[in-house]
C-alpha cells in the first residue's frame, strides 16, 4: 500500500484528539462492523483507566457474542456459564468486597437462561454492576429470537415475526429490577450516537462510584443493535433502533439514588 503523504507528520502525540485506552488490548475485536459491543467495551475500558481501577477490577463475561470480552480488556476476568454471571459475580464480590466487580451480559444470557440469577442477585442487592446489552436477538448463534425481541420482529426462529400469542411478550428487565429494593441505580442507555456514548459513560462512572458505597446493585441496560442479525447495514440498524427499539425500551433512568436528578426518559435521543 502506498503511504499517504505526510502521514508521519500527522501522527504525533500532540495531534492526538482520540486514542486507544490503555485497558484495551492489542487483540482485534471479532465484532461485526457497526456493533455496539465494541463501543461499549471502549467506554468500559476508559472508565476503568480513568478511575484507576485496573488493579481492583474483576469482570465476568457471559456466553454470547461478548464471551471474549476477556481478550479485549486488560483486566482479570472470569468467563461464566450461560446466564450465570451474576451468581459468579456474587461470590467474587462477597469474597473480595473491596474490588470493583461487573458482569457484561446479552439479552439471552441475562433475560432468558439467567433470569433467576439476575433477579435474585439484584434482589439480594449484590454490590456489583450489571451491564446488559439488549439488541433483541441472539447474535452469536445466528439471529434467533431473544426474550427481548420486539412483537412482530423477525428472527431465524420467528421468521414471520414474533407472534406474542404463540411466543410470548418481550421482557423489560430494567423495569423489573428497578422495582426490587436491592437495586440502587437502574438506567437504560444506548451507544449509537456520540451524545449517547457520553451519557452511557456518565452512567458507568456513576455506577463505579455507587459500588464503593455498598448500597446495592447497579444495572445499566444498553439498548443496542445487531446489524448482522437484523440483516441491515450499520446505519440502517441504528435508524431501526431509534424507530422501533426506543419506543418499547425508552432511554433514561429508571431508578436513581435518593436526591439524585433523574435523567429524563426520551424515546429518540
Amino acid at each position: 500500500m502506498k503511504e499517504i503523504t505526510g502521514i508521519k507528520e500527522i501522527i504525533k502525540p500532540e495531534n492526538l484528539a482520540y486514542k486507544k485506552s490503555a485497558i484495551l488490548t492489542e487483540d482485534i475485536m471479532h465484532y461485526c462492523p457497526g456493533c455496539g459491543h465494541s463501543t461499549t467495551h471502549r467506554i468500559l475500558a476508559e472508565i476503568i483507566e480513568e478511575e484507576g481501577l485496573q488493579q481492583d477490577t474483576i469482570g465476568v463475561s457471559p456466553v454470547g457474542c461478548s464471551v471474549f470480552l476477556y481478550n479485549y480488556l486488560d483486566i482479570d476476568c472470569q468467563e461464566a456459564a450461560h446466564g450465570r454471571a451474576p451468581a459468579v459475580a456474587t461470590a467474587i464480590k462477597r469474597l473480595q468486597p473491596d474490588k470493583f466487580v461487573f458482569t457484561y451480559q446479552g439479552d439471552g444470557d441475562l433475560a432468558a437462561i439467567g433470569t433467576a440469577e439476575t433477579i435474585h442477585s439484584c434482589n439480594r442487592g449484590e454490590n456489583i454492576l450489571i451491564i446488559f446489552i439488549n439488541n433483541g436477538i441472539y447474535g452469536m448463534t445466528g439471529g434467533q429470537m431473544a426474550p427481548t425481541t420486539l412483537p412482530g420482529m423477525k428472527s431465524s426462529t420467528s421468521p414471520y415475526g414474533r407472534d406474542v400469542k404463540i411466543m410470548g411478550n418481550p421482557l423489560k428487565m430494567a423495569d423489573i429490577v428497578a422495582t426490587l429494593p436491592g437495586t440502587y441505580y437502574v438506567t437504560r442507555q444506548s451507544v449509537h450516537t456520540p451524545a449517547n456514548v457520553r451519557k452511557t459513560k456518565r452512567a458507568m462512572r456513576k455506577a463505579v462510584q455507587y459500588q464503593k458505597l455498598n448500597k446495592g446493585t447497579c444495572f445499566i441496560e444498553i439498548v443496542s443493535n445487531c446489524p448482522s442479525g437484523w440483516k441491515m447495514t450499520p446505519v440502517q440498524a441504528n435508524k431501526w433502533l431509534e424507530e422501533n427499539m426506543f419506543p418499547f425500551y425508552p432511554l433514561g433512568d429508571l431508578k436513581v439514588p435518593e436526591g439524585q436528578p433523574v435523567q429524563q426518559t426520551r424515546t429518540n435521543d
Partner: protein, 356 residues
C-alpha cells in the same frame, strides 16, 4: 481451639469441619437429606468469627456458579447437595473442571432416578466417578464411611482440590449424613492469606491478566488442554488411591463395598468368618482414583468377589475392569433407599459360593 470430641450428625460434622478447615465460602440450597449443613453454618455464623462467607443461593445452579466465582478468586469454597440437586450442579462442575479450579462438592446421596426418595442410596456412583457433566473430566471422589470421615474428608478434600486444581466430591449418603457418632474435630485453621498466582484478584502492573475460562475454539489447542487433563488424572491415579482392607490377608471370598455398604459388609465378614467362610472386605476410600491395582492383586488369591452397593450395580463395573476376568465378580444391591443387612449379604455370598 483444641482438637475436640463431639457427638454429631454427619452433615453437621461437614459444616463444622468446613469452618475449622479455614473455608472461605459455602454456597448452598436446601435439599433433604443434607439441609443440616446449611442450617448449621447459618446458626454458627462463621462470617463473624473466621470471616467465612455463607450464602443460601436461589438454586443449585446459582450455588455451584458462586463456587466457580469464589474458586476463581483462589478461595477455599464449597457447596453441598443431594442427588437431584447434584444433577443441577453438573453444569457448574464441568465448567469448574474445565477451568481447572479447586473446590469441594458434598453429595449426600438419596435414591433416584428423578425425585426418587429421600432415603440413603449409592446410585450416583457413575455420575460422581465418570465425570457427571459433559466433556472428558474426572472429579476426585472421596467416600466416607463414618461421621469421623465426613469431617476428615473436608480438610483432605480441600488439600487435594488445591494440589491438583481439580474439583473434589465427597460422595456420602443419607445414612451417614443423618446418623450421629462421636467425632474428633480438628483445631481451627486460619483462613489462608496466600493467593494462587492464577487467581482473579485484580491485575497489578507486575503480572499479566488472569483469565478463568474453559473456552478454546482452536481444536488443536483444545486437544492439548484435554491431554493436560489426562496427564493430571493419571498423576492422581498414581498418587491418591486410598482404600482400607478388613481381613483380606487370607480371604478367599472378597467383598468390595464403600460408604454405608462397607459398614454393613464389615459385620458380614465377621458373621461369615464365624461360619468358617474366609471372607474379607476391601473398602475403596477414593472412588476416583479407584483402587484397581490392589483389587487386581487380591484377585490372585481370592476365589470370587462380591460388590455390595445400594444401587443396581455401578461400582461393580470398575471391579470387573480391575479383576480383568481373573475371578468371577458378582453384585448384590438394594435400592429405593433400603440398606442391606449383614445377614442378607452373607446369604447372598453363600449363594454365589455354591453357584460357583
Amino acid at each position: 481451639m483444641e482438637r475436640e470430641l463431639r457427638l454429631m450428625k454427619g452433615n453437621e460434622a461437614v459444616a463444622e469441619a468446613a469452618i475449622r478447615a479455614g473455608a472461605d465460602g459455602y454456597f448452598g440450597y436446601p435439599i433433604t437429606p443434607q439441609s443440616e449443613i446449611l442450617e448449621y453454618l447459618m446458626a454458627a455464623k462463621p462470617y463473624e468469627t473466621t470471616g467465612m462467607v455463607v450464602l443460601q443461593a436461589e438454586s443449585e445452579l446459582a450455588a455451584i456458579n458462586m463456587v466457580y466465582g469464589g474458586a476463581g478468586c483462589g478461595k477455599k469454597v464449597m457447596t453441598s447437595s443431594s442427588s437431584p440437586g447434584i444433577s443441577l450442579k453438573q453444569e457448574g462442575i464441568t465448567y469448574i473442571a474445565g477451568a481447572e479450579l479447586p473446590c469441594l462438592v458434598v453429595n449426600v446421596v438419596r435414591g433416584g432416578p428423578g425425585l426418587g426418595t429421600i432415603q440413603p442410596a449409592q446410585s450416583d456412583y457413575f455420575q460422581a466417578t465418570k465425570g457427571g457433566g459433559h466433556g472428558d473430566y474426572h472429579l476426585i471422589v472421596l467416600a466416607p464411611a463414618s461421621v469421623q470421615e465426613m469431617a476428615d474428608f473436608v480438610g483432605l478434600g480441600f488439600d487435594l482440590a488445591f494440589k491438583y486444581r481439580n474439583p473434589v466430591m465427597i460422595l456420602s449418603d443419607g445414612a451417614i449424613g443423618q446418623m450421629m457418632e462421636k467425632v474428633w474435630l480438628s483445631p481451627q485453621k486460619e483462613r489462608s492469606k496466600t493467593v494462587p498466582e492464577w487467581a482473579t484478584t485484580g491485575k497489578p502492573p507486575s503480572r499479566k491478566r488472569n483469565i478463568i475460562t474453559s473456552l478454546e475454539l482452536d481444536p488443536y489447542r483444545q486437544e492439548i488442554f484435554n491431554l493436560k487433563l489426562v496427564a493430571k488424572y493419571n498423576e492422581i491415579r498414581k498418587n491418591e488411591v486410598r482404600f482400607e482392607e478388613f481381613q483380606c490377608e487370607d480371604a478367599e471370598f472378597l467383598l468390595v463395598a464403600y460408604g454405608t455398604s462397607a459398614r454393613v459388609c464389615q459385620k458380614s465378614v465377621e458373621l461369615a468368618r464365624e461360619e468358617g467362610i474366609k471372607a474379607g472386605l476391601l473398602r475403596p476410600i477414593t472412588l476416583f482414583p479407584f483402587p484397581s491395582a490392589r483389587i487386581n492383586k487380591l484377585a490372585d488369591s481370592a476365589r470370587l468377589m462380591l460388590t455390595v452397593e445400594m444401587s443396581a450395580g455401578q461400582m461393580v463395573e470398575d471391579v470387573l475392569l480391575s479383576v480383568n476376568g481373573k475371578v468371577p465378580v458378582y453384585h448384590y444391591g438394594r435400592m429405593g433407599g433400603i440398606i442391606p443387612t449383614p445377614d442378607e449379604v452373607v446369604g447372598n455370598l453363600k449363594e454365589r459360593i455354591i453357584g460357583s
